[in-house]
């Protein structure tokens, strides 16, 4: 390459852009905690020595090694906010994918105290930074485990004491499948400009005001922001969900340049 890349040589964190430089090579992290989030999802707490910090929405690459040396690598969205307490502690929330190669192991087996190779943080597009992005209203639309990176954004906002108006629309199959339901309620109850709407696509509780169905255009319009406010829009979930919701928001007048998407392909797992 002819162009020198000075970011590699500079101390990390000096400029926002430096965070985009992915640390070279793999390092070993230790699983120091795990929390069940639902019947099929778990949050893994990893101790990563020398973690350089991250932006909400970035990923962590994990590399798993079998006894014969075979390795499998996957990217997981970081769930913890940038200012999570304790140095070098980061969290990922993993949803078990049926017939997946990696996620069933991480959700059901990966024992506390054991080691795993990690690399990150990775990605600089699907991110929200309370320093750079404060003040512009934010619409977060999440389908299923697509909640994880946008939850990191909500956590970044809370941890920094930021009051940027946030609206979250969360589409999930059933009440039992919800991730972080209590925390979402607490965030909304603070009265500091964070609103969350959750809809169920497969089954609802007896007291629900809405039957189980997919997120509709009018729900996105009424629970989101008008396009005239020029919000930043983040949409994350399975491909079909992201395609459908991004078509809706563009049809509602949102500039595609302000719509950032992240899709989980059918191969996730």
């Amino acid at each position: 390459m002819t162009e020198a890349r000075s970011a590699e040589a500079e101390p990390r964190g000096a400029r926002l852009g430096d965070r985009y430089a992915v640390p070279s090579g793999w390092q070993v992290a230790t699983l120091v905690g795990r929390r069940a989030e639902s019947a099929s999802a778990v949050t893994l707490v990893l101790d990563v020595p020398g973690w350089p910090g991250h932006l909400a929405g970035q990923h962590l690459d994990l590399r798993l090694t079998a006894p014969d040396g075979y390795t499998a690598e996957r990217s997981y969205s970081l769930a913890s906010g940038p200012a999570a307490p304790g140095t070098g502690r980061v969290e990922v929330t993993v949803q078990r994918v049926r017939d997946g190669e990696v996620s069933p192991y991480l959700v059901d087996q990966f024992p506390l105290g054991s080691a795993i190779e990690v690399r990150g943080p990775i990605g600089g597009w699907f991110v929200w930074d309370p320093v750079r992005d404060a003040g512009t209203p934010v619409l977060l639309v999440a389908g299923g485990s697509g909640l994880v990176p946008v939850m990191a954004m909500a956590r970044a906002r809370r941890e920094s004491g930021d009051r940027t108006p946030f609206r979250l629309i969360y589409s999930v199959r059933t009440p039992e499948d919800r991730l972080y339901p209590d925390e979402l309620e607490r965030l909304a109850a603070r009265g500091d400009g964070f609103e969350a709407s959750t809809i169920f696509t497969r089954a609802v509780s007896l007291t629900a005001l809405r039957g189980p169905r997919r997120l509709t255009d009018s729900e996105v319009a009424s629970w989101g922001w008008p396009a005239e406010l020029e919000p930043r829009v983040y949409i994350c979930g399975p491909t079909g969900f992201v395609e459908a919701v991004s078509r809706m928001v563009v049809a509602q007048g949102h500039d595609p340049a302000r719509v950032r998407t992240e899709r989980f392909g059918p191969a996730a797992g």
Binding site: W26, G50, Y70, G265
Partner: protein, 220 residues
């Protein structure tokens, strides 16, 4: 316990690892049956479906207004309409593709126009190109990786018009590099004497992106 620790896999620098020798890496992980009869680049797994990855909404691009333009380093432009593209000699490559998010798909069947055809008459000594898309996406590639039967403007996948989610009406196809280089909704190619990073490359991804050398991120 130490004897039970699996070897650190290839590419790592064991001396650089801050690793408690008493803790085995991912104990109990077995992984899937190893794929047979195919060769996967390091860190990839075989995928039967065709996952979609895009940074933003899928743009609507009509073939009625579509065009593809090549601009050289002194600003001279040559462009093709959809009808002109279709009138050029067509190739039908069957290739393996490798996404940086770690899926690989074998034996994908495409139809399109070789960059050798499109760039044949372009006057340039540039070593690098920036490819641009409807919707604003960009990616940089060495010209050497676009010539010699290695890259196409593809408009047909598996015998059907390329779906917009996958970059239709036409995308760049450079299968020997990670698939983010194969820009969806392609509209332009600008030749540059020196390399400049495109969209993902500015965000930490590699300037070349050779999956066989696992060049995922800058510095790999």
């Amino acid at each position: 316990m130490t004897s039970a620790t699996p070897p650190v896999p290839g590419g790592s620098d064991p001396a650089g690892l801050d690793h408690d020798p008493g803790a085995a890496l991912t104990p109990g992980f077995r992984g899937r049956a190893r794929p047979e009869g195919v060769t996967l680049p390091p860190g990839q797994y075989a995928e039967e479906g065709f996952p979609v990855l895009s940074a933003g909404p899928t743009p609507n691009v009509s073939t009625a207004t579509w065009s593809f333009a090549v601009t050289n380093e002194v600003g001279a432009t040559k462009s093709w309409t959809w009808a002109e593209l279709m009138a050029l000699p067509q190739d039908t490559p069957t290739v393996d593709i490798h996404c940086v998010t770690r899926w690989s798909k074998f034996g994908t069947r495409w139809r399109g126009v070789s960059l050798d055809v499109l760039l044949a008459e372009v006057e340039s000594t540039a070593e690098f190109a920036m490819v641009g898309s409807y919707g604003g996406y960009t990616t940089n590639l060495p010209v050497a990786d676009l010539l010699g039967g290695k890259a196409w403007i593809a408009h047909t996948f598996d015998g059907a018009p390329l779906h917009p989610e996958h970059g239709g009406p036409a995308r760049l196809l450079v299968p020997h590099l990670y698939f983010w280089k194969s820009a969806k909704w392609v509209r332009s190619l600008t030749l540059m004497p020196t390399d400049r990073p495109g969209f993902w490359e500015k965000l930490g991804y590699h300037d070349l992106g050779d999956p066989w050398r696992e060049q995922r991120y800058q510095g790999d």
